[in-house]
């Protein structure tokens, strides 16, 4: 892997920040330059959350721009669709097959759109039931590490470097479940 533009999207509270930190840490351990753009503030309030990770020999901007993402890592289907314009030609989407209805849908004002079908028509999509795998791993909040496992399999980076990054970023008491979640994602 020489350069990588990744967009990580989800709903506030799903753990996108941790995923972007682990990926950033992987880059650091590979002695690459890396920038991670995070979203703080209102992110806990259930809104759309977008973080960017850019890896290369020299990275200036922390922002992944439209049509320039190699990968989109989506924690929720609607957010995957919303992020699709970031994807560059031949880019890939890894999506957790979970639907979280926004308020306009729960109140009946709008319908939850067709997501997976639309995405698959337009891009290379890997769909994973990460919530089920996270539960298998013993912590349903480990959806993020399941997705990182699936992502790791696609990138040509030594698995041990990922494991090291997870150990560096995940608090001790959640580590075991997250390591298991990573394995399940990698094997999926």
């Amino acid at each position: 892997m020489d350069n990588l533009n990744a967009v990580i999207v989800g709903v506030g509270g799903q753990g996108t920040l941790l995923a972007s930190r682990v990926l950033g840490r992987v880059a650091l351990n590979l002695k690459k330059d890396v920038k991670v753009s995070e979203v703080h503030g209102m992110s806990q309030r259930g809104g759309s959350v977008t973080t960017y990770v850019r890896i290369g020999e020299k990275v200036y901007s922390p922002v992944v721009e439209q049509r320039s993402a190699d990968y989109i890592l989506a924690f929720e289907e609607l957010e995957a669709l919303r992020a699709a314009p970031y994807l560059k030609e031949n880019g890939e989407i890894i999506v957790n097959t979970q639907k979280i209805a926004p308020l306009s849908v729960t109140t009946g004002a709008q319908e939850y759109p067709k997501t997976l079908e639309t995405l698959k028509e337009n891009a290379d999509v890997t769909a994973i039931d990460a919530l089920t795998l996270a539960r298998q791993a013993g912590n349903e909040r480990a959806v993020n590490t399941v997705l990182l496992g699936a992502f790791a399999k696609k990138l040509e980076i030594d698995e041990d470097i990922w494991r090291e990054a997870i150990r560096e970023c995940v608090p001790e008491k959640y580590l075991k479940a997250n390591e298991k979640a990573f394995d399940l994602g990698y094997a999926s």
């Binding site: 880059a27 995070e38 503030g41 259930g46 759309s48 439209q66 609607l78 308020l103």
Partner: protein
């Protein structure tokens, strides 16, 4: 090497510079600076009640001979501007650095004002880092410059610098003794005679600094081979320019004020076409044009929002921008009041009453959105109370009988108190609802004077809001649990009817304070439910309306029971 958040790098830079005092009021995107400083035991850190106090504490610490750091978001500088402008005259004893985080693109603010004008008009130096590594380095340099020239120094971040992680090299902490404090009334007291002399000092100080700018090494010309185009840029814009226009020469300005006009002139002479690429206001461009140098930029970029590489490549290099990130027709997902949020009950009642609601800054501003739609105004911290009084003074006392001001506990302490004193003093009839959720919610649950804890979780005296309101002279002060929704509605009706001011404190902790404390979820009895939609209208993310039914998502429900209380058919009950 560390992968550090810009804000974390600022805290680390201050720590390495030997600073011992760090103060702030939370505000996105600046909050994490002090949160990171609080993890370093050498710092005294505090959440001050507002930015003005935060800066005053830092000024006092500087006067005492310590290096002091003060942090706030851009609009916070408006609050702190009073001490700032006179501290610029006074100068410093220990180094004094004010970090302010601007928010181009308005990710989490009420405007996108450009703080660079503060430095220019207060005549204090301002540094502008582009990434985390520079956040650390520039903060250290800011302390050095502060002490060398006797000036408070501002460091300006923007969201994409404050909230970006980058590879950062850390160093050791410099051991510093406190500087000696000597009484110098002609320096520390801004009486007219003294202030006039200090103003002369300010002008001379700036001249000295201008002379030394090149030697500071914070501005940097990068000439590209054979390039005819040159771009002057700073901060985040530098990052985008380097990506968008790799073949142009750049002049990166690490010092936003004072500008190094000699360096700008030299750079302009070395390029054929000169562009200035900066986010927000034409701060650099105006100065360059005033020098008589031919340049442009703002005619293309405008003054709004963030720039990004794609847009710059299109505007200055003719490369088509692939377009904006819009996915039309997809339901938006704005932030919402959480399941179990105590504010929901208040806004539900206010929307039923169809009152005019003067709002304030906090999570509860979300009460303005559908389906609650229960707010008429929100401009800045503390404004709700003053505006409610002004509205009444213009339209007559009867108006106060169908309007209220709503303000959070932290915002009330920040700058709502003075508004309430005004209400009493100037005989307005305002009813103020203080939404006391026992935390500063929106910025990530910081303690404040009403919570009885300091930034490091130590116990302290808890400000008693009701006694404060009584002391101000409010004749009618009540405390109520907002989830006693029927009593709350009666209370709001009664208090607004009364002549004279009233305060209703709706007290219930934020639903996120203890996420592990989960009550039994509620469920809807399909037999009893007539799908009237009343529970849907409280805007709870756990409640979903489907075609012929309404359901509660047990995983999201925190068991607050508000929906059950408003269901006329008693169709909602706790799952035991």
């Amino acid at each position: 090497m560390e992968l550090m958040l810009g804000n974390e790098a600022v805290a680390r830079g201050a720590w390495e510079a030997g600073a011992t005092v760090a103060t702030a009021y939370p505000g996105t995107p600046s909050t994490e600076i002090i949160e990171n400083a609080a993890l370093l035991s050498e710092f005294y850190t505090e959440w001050s009640p507002n930015e003005k106090v935060a800066l005053e504490v830092a000024i006092g610490a500087s006067m005492a001979g310590a290096r002091a750091l003060c942090c706030m978001k851009h609009v916070g500088v408006n609050v702190a501007a009073d001490p700032l402008f006179s501290a610029a005259y006074m100068g410093i004893n220990g180094g004094l650095v004010l970090v302010c985080a601007d928010d181009p693109g308005i990710h989490s603010s009420q405007n996108e004002q450009d703080s660079r004008y503060y430095a220019k008009s207060a005549h204090i130096p301002m540094l502008e880092p582009s990434d985390s590594a520079e956040c650390l380095e520039f903060t250290k340099r800011a302390f050095e410059i502060s002490e060398k020239y006797g000036a408070p120094v501002m460091v300006r971040l923007v969201t994409r610098v404050a909230h970006a992680r980058g590879v950062t090299k850390t160093g050791k902490r410099e051991k510093r003794a406190l500087k000696t404090y000597r009484k110098e009334i002609d320096k520390f007291i801004m009486m007219t005679g003294f202030a006039r002399k200090r103003h002369v000092f300010v002008e001379e100080r700036e001249k000295r600094l201008v002379k030394d700018l090149k030697d500071l090494g914070l501005n940097r010309a990068e000439y590209a081979d054979g390039a005819k185009i040159g771009v002057i840029c700073s901060g985040s814009a530098y990052n985008y320019v380097k990506e968008a226009l790799p073949n142009v020469s750049t002049l990166k300005l690490g010092v936003a004020h004072p500008l190094d006009k000699n360096m700008i002139k030299e750079f302009a002479e070395n390029v054929e076409t000169l562009y200035i690429v900066e986010e927000l206001e034409p701060f650099i461009e105006e100065a360059v044009l005033a020098m008589g140098v031919k340049a442009s930029g703002k005619d293309k970029t405008g003054v709004q929002g963030e720039l990004f590489a794609g847009k710059i490549a299109e505007l200055f290099d003719g490369k088509p921008d692939p377009g904006v990130w819009e996915t039309p027709g997809i339901p938006a997902r704005p932030p919402v009041l959480c399941a179990g949020c105590p504010h929901r009950a208040v806004f539900y009642v206010l929307s039923r009453l169809r009152f005019i609601v003067f709002g304030d800054i906090g999570c509860y501003t979300l009460g303005a959105l559908d389906p609650l739609n229960a707010m008429d105004s929100e401009i800045c911290m503390g404004a709700s109370i003053g505006m409610a009084a002004g509205f009444e003074k213009a339209r007559g006392a009867e108006t106060a009988k169908r309007s209220v001001a709503v303000i959070g506990d932290s915002t009330f302490v920040h700058s709502g108190v003075t508004g309430l004193i005004n209400v009493v003093y100037n005989k307005a009839n305002t009813t103020v609802i203080i939404l006391d959720n026992s935390t500063t919610g929106m910025t990530g649950h910081q303690p404040n004077p009403t919570t009885g804890e300091t930034i490091r979780g130590e116990k302290t005296v808890q400000l008693n809001i009701e006694r404060l309101c009584e002391a101000i002279g409010v004749p009618s002060v009540h405390v109520i649990d907002p989830f006693e929704i029927h009593d709350l509605e009666s209370m709001i009706r009664e208090e607004t009817k009364k002549d004279g001011p009233s305060v209703i404190i709706t007290r219930r902790p934020c639903a996120l304070i203890d996420k592990n404390k989960k009550e039994n979820a509620f469920a809807i009895d399909k037999e009893k439910c007539v799908v009237c939609g009343a529970c849907v209208r409280i805007g709870c993310p756990a409640i979903t309306r489907e075609k012929d039914s309404v359901t509660i998502d047990a995983a999201q429900c925190v068991g607050c029971g508000l929906c059950a209380k408003i269901c006329a058919r008693s169709a909602i009950s706790e799952v035991v």
